[in-house]
Symmetry: C2
Subunit: 465 residues, 2 copies
């Protein structure tokens, strides 16, 4: 339901959604395959440190926790009520939550507005608003934070710690991101699925993220905005990069977005281009791009000019990159155009058959020392704004050694405020190097185009600032 602006009481209470001292799970189940069991299981598994109160009128204990027949039976204060009962039972649960003065209610249950029960959803929402009980959902997957060891929902993973707050209308895509986080060290500060966003809206989580000390970048997945003005207003208050992916732009997607999260899109896709532009956010097109550029914006400073130097041991990676830079409207310049002396200085770190054009091809025989020297020269040149490195493993490439050298150079040059991205294209050792680099704050990617997308996003953000 529409909000005019982010409501302060909601923004304030969101900390109970992401870091509650106590949770009641209504619809808790004894059966391991049920959502109402998984929620508790995952809370325990990932190390939740607060109190857990299962609510189930027909069980004594669930996963070791004593059960309560109703919310009202719980005598201690409850920060968060998590609801996983069928839709027709939700109204009375909400009343109970108000009566016990819960700080926040999350309704995971589906089958509301998205299947035509908009009225029921609105009734519940109005009741919550009247009683100042912020409601997240319904029809959502959950939320959590790796910093709080908090995984609340039917969510099989907790992400690794990192800079990106993900605010997603889609549960499935949020889960995908969480899985990717573990697999590829896409670090997150917190995450939340908004579902139908009957009450709590994007704008409120956006303002919360702005205050959250772990969050360096906001990644927002939208199927439809009920309150575009509030969205724009809150984004404009944020002094952190915001990346948005908006789906449901296709003809069939408009219908599918309604069926999925009851999202209405009467205005067409150009309207969202305008909203996202006005919000000062960067729009991603594909899911991969959404992840790739938000990670870069979370880990690296903005690019303050367009003199990017690329250092690679593989000409092919260089070509894929320079083509993609030009495709995105940010063509690489030749080294001699960037800085007259840089070509000479960088030549010292490549064999005779290398190429100091830009991409700088230090050749397939490049050693860790040559990489290090070339990186250093590029960073230290005052005309250079950002550096892109690429590792293409030949039989003589020390992939992890190069990754370590990259981290050393980056750390010694950090105060220059120049972004550094890496490409590691290849097999298992490249995967390891990517994880190592990401763990050391350098966004690294398995393909050239992904890194170029990220660098261009750093440029676009730099130009907005």
């Amino acid at each position: 339901m529409k909000v005019e602006k982010a409501r302060p009481y909601v923004v304030k209470n969101l900390r109970y959604a992401l870091n509650p001292s106590s949770i009641a799970i209504v619809g808790a189940s004894r059966y391991p395959t049920k959502v109402g069991n998984k929620v508790i299981y995952e809370l325990v598994k990932w190390g939740y440190r607060g109190k857990i109160y299962p609510v189930n009128p027909r069980a004594d204990k669930i996963l070791g926790f004593p059960c309560y027949k109703t919310l009202r039976e719980i005598k201690d204060p409850v920060d968060l009520v998590f609801v996983a009962v069928p839709a027709h039972l939700v109204s009375s649960i909400v009343q109970d939550a108000v009566s016990i003065k819960a700080k926040m209610i999350v309704i995971a249950t589906s089958a509301f507005k998205e299947i035509g029960r908009g009225e029921l959803q609105n009734e519940i929402t109005e009741y919550c608003r009247k009683n100042k009980l912020p409601l997240i959902g319904p029809n959502l997957v959950g939320m959590g934070s790796p910093y709080e060891h908090f995984n609340c929902g039917f969510i099989p993973y907790l992400p690794v710690e990192g800079p990106v707050a993900m605010i997603s209308q889609s549960g499935a895509n949020l889960l995908a991101a969480l899985g990717t986080s573990q697999e590829s060290h896409y670090g997150m500060s917190f995450f939340v699925g908004l579902g139908n966003k009957a009450d709590v809206d994007f704008c409120e989580f956006i303002e919360y993220a702005n205050e959250d000390p772990h969050t360096k970048c906001l990644a927002i997945y939208i199927e439809g905005l009920d309150s575009p003005e509030a969205f724009i207003d809150s984004c404009q208050k944020v002094d952190k990069p915001i990346v948005v992916i908006k789906v449901g732009r296709s003809k069939i997607g408009v219908k599918a977005a309604f069926a999925h999260t009851a999202s209405e899109n009467p205005n067409g896709d150009e309207y969202y281009d305008m909203v996202i532009e006005k919000a000062g956010a960067i729009r991603a097109t594909t899911w991969q791009e959404f992840l790739d550029i938000s990670l870069a914006l979370g880990l690296q400073p903005p690019l303050k000019g367009d003199n990017i130097v690329m250092v690679t041991n593989g000409g092919g990676a260089g070509l894929l990159s320079c083509d993609h830079f030009e495709r995105l409207g940010l063509p690489l310049r030749e080294l001699k155009q960037i800085s007259p002396m840089l070509e000479q200085r960088i030549r010292a770190y490549m064999p005779m058959f290398g190429s100091p054009l830009n991409p700088v091809d230090i050749s397939g025989t490049a050693s860790v020392i040559q990489y290090k020297g070339a990186f250093q020269q590029a960073f230290r040149d005052p005309n250079v704004h950002g550096v892109l490195g690429a590792i293409c493993p030949t039989a003589v490439t020390d992939v992890m050694g190069t990754a370590k050298a990259a981290v050393e150079v980056y750390e010694s040059c950090k105060e220059l405020g120049k972004p550094f991205l890496m490409i590691c294209q290849g097999g298992a050792e490249c995967r390891d190097a990517i994880l190592y680099l990401r763990d050391h704050q350098i966004p690294a990617y398995p393909t050239a185009e992904q890194a170029v997308n990220a660098m261009v996003a750093l440029y676009r953000y730099g130009m907005k600032k």
Copy 2:
């Protein structure tokens, strides 16, 4: 150097490049960090079954193999001469190779035309042509085939067995593909780096691939074509799908392509659009797309119409997909438009709050049985041309169980000749499911857009046929 058409003696002899009974390595080295050592090491490591003759005038044995001072000293027949000596020594090696009647010579050495020594390269090439000794290279990384346990070059990996023959001008990108092959089960039949392609050209490997029984799809990475007519002519003879990525389209890329593999691109990029179109090949834009669509074309039949049904347990994956289908000009149709009864039949396999639009959202609670039923209904409907499945792991999703069910359905419906692709977006269990599916001939991808790119390529190929 230009060829008018693929030369039969070259095409015939390429089997000695990919499956030789004996190899002489000229420039063999005792030092493990040297290319001339790595080549032998990798041959042995990956199980090469033929004879190995190291040539080095200053060593007795290398990695256990007795050394020869010169090629001429080897009295047994030599199928393949692999050259890794400095450029100025190459001419005399080539003469020796001719005199011992080698069947094929591969020159890995760099520093020829790409750094301005075109004359030397041309002299060597003309000598080889006069003596009908096909020359691959110079300035290349090597070649091999997992089916022959043959890894010949400075190549740290052998790919997994599969349908794609990769013919690449870039060594680094070829190596990346080989690494990806191992990591992501991108299966290959054989691979070769052409480097400067002084003599043996794309056209000859294309005709060889057409005859190769393991090859079901050709994936060709081009920096520049010297003989576009021969390329077109050979491609037109091929009755297998061909995917091309052509780099060096950007302004700086034209220069970089020359510096890399001495490729000349006087005609601009639209010229290559025309060449690739005339050749009947499909052009990929990004490296990821190149890999994704070649795998699909190698494993799956072409799509014979545009009635694609998508079955997903995550609405978000469905939305990303239907948006991307429309973006690529192949919008999904609603189920009821595809087949009047299909909606009813598929409804039996989803909860009340699922959505039978298309994408068919069988919801986050979907069981293996529901997936299986929905897949079967989609496959068996005579109006449906292809099926796209998506697994988005919620806490109740049996990811591997669903992957196994997908394989069962696919195998029971294989004779229908309808392509089947999968999306598995998430963490470690999705990675495992992707490998499992690929091992069972179903191209599976970690993001929606990758799978959609692949499906659209199957459609484009189907329309060409």
